[in-house]
């Protein structure tokens, strides 16, 4: 999923706090005096939270009660168990005799994700600097083209790209480098666009001063662009991390049995309502833990990154 965030214009820039403080009390009072709005907000908040909590509780149901009893009934009996987590992580996920445990897929997810975050961000930042600060012929056209590529469904590229990476050509489909390259390519348009938005906001005095001092583009890039755009890089890194970690399509097409991340076996077993269906909720919960930790600890930067794309010219 690439995200298109063309600039939304000046109206979205938050005002400084002090300007709003005066009316804040009055408006808060007004909001709270509408019981319907409050009730609706509470219902939405509950609908958006309860399913995740329910998944966690369902993950704790012992296998022999999964089909017959709901989690609140098991909870009432005090029969909940953590052994399902142990089972899927370290023993097997699915048919006990042959299915490998998920620990391998957890490590695969990490091996797939980390390079797929680093590669597009570095290359994207380089291009973003060039498009923002180096005037050259065709710059505008190329940038608009990269921007437009964001909305091309990646389905459109799958078959030929698989052929390029496949055994007849590069021979890295089904291996980690193939998956990294695919993720890097698909992340490129958004990375260039969002980083460009940020890099072009750097005050021109700084870059002109460097230029006057005789700095080359390489020096400018390493000494000015990289340090100053770290906040944008951080937020985009979180975004890209979540996208790659949660991806299924790219890893299903370009990966192989040795590279499949967590999402792949879970998706396969989720449609199967057989004997081992009770292993799916704990597995899904395991797949969610790392992105949720990343999300809650770095939420501030993540949201800022989303807004950088939507509110900055």
């Amino acid at each position: 999923m690439s995200v298109v965030m063309p600039p939304a214009g000046p109206e979205a820039t938050p005002k400084p706090k002090s300007a709003r403080r005066k009316t804040r009390a009055g408006q808060a009072k007004e909001n709270l005096t509408s019981p319907w709005a409050t009730a609706a907000a509470i219902i939405i908040a509950m609908l958006w939270t309860i399913p995740t909590v329910a998944l966690f509780m369902t993950a704790l149901i012992p296998g022999d009660r999964y089909r017959t009893d709901a989690w609140w009934e098991v909870l009432a009996d005090g029969d909940l168990t953590f052994s399902n987590f142990n089972h899927v992580l370290f023993q097997s996920f699915g048919d006990n005799s042959t299915a490998p445990p998920l620990l391998g897929n957890v490590i695969n997810s990490i091996v797939v994700t980390v390079p797929s975050v680093v590669f597009p961000l570095v290359l994207g930042l380089m291009a973003a600097y060039a498009f923002a600060w180096i005037p050259f012929r065709g710059s505008n056209f190329l940038f608009v083209m990269i921007f437009a590529l964001q909305v091309v469904p990646l389905q459109l590229a799958l078959i030929p790209l698989l052929r390029i990476l496949g055994p007849e050509n590069l021979g890295i489909a089904g291996q980690f480098p193939g998956v990294w390259i695919a993720h890097t390519i698909f992340a490129m348009p958004l990375a260039v666009f969002l980083l460009h938005n940020f890099v072009s906001q750097i005050p021109s005095d700084i870059l002109e001063a460097a230029r006057v001092d005789g700095a080359s583009h390489t020096q400018t890039f390493f000494r000015i662009i990289i340090p100053l755009s770290l906040p944008a890089v951080a937020s985009l890194a979180i975004f890209q991390f979540l996208w790659v970690w949660n991806d299924l399509l790219v890893s299903a097409v370009f990966g192989g049995s040795k590279t499949y991340p967590l999402t792949y076996p879970i998706s396969n077993l989720a449609g199967d309502y057989g004997q081992y269906a009770y292993l799916v909720p704990p597995a899904a919960f395991i797949s969610m833990i790392i992105p949720l930790i990343v999300f809650f600890s770095l939420q501030r930067y993540f949201v800022r990154g989303l807004l950088a794309g939507s509110t900055k010219g």
Binding site: P10, P14, Q27, A45, M126, A130, I134, N246, P291
Partner: protein
Amino acid sequence: MTSTEVPLSLSRGLPMAGLDGEFWETQSSNLLLAAIAIVAFLVVVSLVMFGADLVRGRIRDKVQLVVLIAPVLFLLGVGLIWPAIDTIWLSFNKVVEQPDPTTGIYTTVTQFTGLDNYRFAFTDPTTLRSVINTMIWMVLVPGLSTTIGLAYAVFIDKAKGEKALKSLVFMPMAISFVGASVIWGSVMYDYNQVGSQTGMLNALLSWIGVEPVNFLVESPWNTFFLIVILVWIQTGFAMVIISAAIKGVPAEMNEAASLDGANAWQRFWSITVPSIRATLVVVLTTITIASLKVYDIVRTVTQGRDNTDIVANKMYVLSFVEGREPLGAALAVILFVFVIPIVIYNVRSLNKVKETR
């Protein structure tokens, strides 16, 4: 459903099957591979950049410009633009078995067939169904996510604990489509033919005395229940962006309207909504594109059964499971045609912003 007997050895006591020496050897070498790849990548990039810095004379700027943009242009050209063109070409072809003129051995060759694949896509009932369903997703997901996100952003604006309330709704953004599909498919929508209901929604229905529903099988409603999953994921995104836009609406405008006697509803329609119109368009665009391409949810929950298939999943199945690549290519092109108006709109608004700068 009958209760399933699970042998005791499954839940405890069994040695950690599969986690032998070979497992650890493979996994540590994979991690090492990733580490080496990152370090090598950074070293190569730095070496090339500093190498370009050694060039002397007028040409230096040009060399450095090429170094900066060539990787991205190359990757996009080879990995996205050329494949897209190739896919479009493939969609006008078919794969046939033919004897080789010299050896006589049967081999597969692609043959131009014109619009046959497209004709098939719009006449074959299951494929046509996936096209129609995709259109339904494309309308309902952005509409519902944006409406609910807007409502929530307005309701909690400047309320106590606004940040915490926001993260609750934003949290599903961090959950994979597969994870969300398991949450809704196995926990919320679960349906038991006999016995008590273990799915939360059906338990709720039985509790208030309504007959339980087999949510994922009842066509055409099952498509709507799948759509709910994506709405659940995307609403937080819409809400955060809209909330930031609402904070940018000058408070004076609302105050002036209040003095003129406008109530909250009138102020919402005549001040808030027009002021954040551009942001609403951005959010709608983004979610529309996301909902066109999503395939994880359908694949995980129903595999396209019971009239729930969508183009993105059908395309995957045709191309990578059934080996009917030209037909899959035609579906990918149909998906692309759906987004063309959005591409045009966005490029236009980008150019407008560039002109005003």
